[in-house]
Symmetry: C2
Subunit: 114 residues, 2 copies
């Protein structure tokens, strides 16, 4: 089945759209995240979950641990548990990524900044 | 960490590159697949694994079950176990997708055509 973008959940600086709810095996989760133009997602980490990112639109600075990347469409990233990560979208376009969470047990985010 | 494309494994009509080996939790697997210009990946299904596809380059016909989609960069798809799927790349560009396998226990492909 195709993941169709319907109404997204607004979280202030970003929006998110869960995909394939009820269709994935236990411990996994999929969503599209869109960081709004000129906005950021603050530094945070997860206690248990792994995150795979596949960039699908726009361009932004993506920080993972000690490194800040310039993330562009087609780039793929892994964020392991307890690794701090953040996004800075300094452009005037939305920054969109497909996110797959593994070892997912519900929200386990620890925020270091808003 | 960033998933960097190094040498790909050639499978005739397509090439694949495993990513983040040894870094993902048990039961999951990630790779980039590139279907060569003018080539196809024949009909097959998997016994146990789920596949999430995020298209990152090119355009192709992607069949899943009873439906054939025109798949383009940014599109996201889910293939559930025992669902037949295939790719026809009728273009003169490579068709590239990021693939995440869930409930993965090793190769469990059943091929209906080459």
């Amino acid at each position: 089945m195709r993941g169709t973008v319907r109404e997204m959940i607004d979280r202030g600086t970003y929006r998110k759209l869960p995909l394939f709810e009820g269709e994935l095996p236990p411990g996994s989760y999929a969503q599209i995240v869109e960081v709004k133009p000129g906005q950021r997602v603050g530094k945070h980490y997860h206690l248990h979950q792994y995150e795979l990112f596949c960039i699908i639109g726009g361009e932004a600075r993506l920080g993972i641990g000690e490194v800040e990347y310039v993330a562009k469409p087609g780039d793929v990233f892994l964020v392991k548990p307890k690794t701090v990560h953040w996004v800075v979208n300094g452009s005037d376009e939305p920054f969109r990524l497909f996110v797959v969470k593994l070892n997912y047990r519900g929200d386990d985010s620890v925020w270091l900044e808003e």
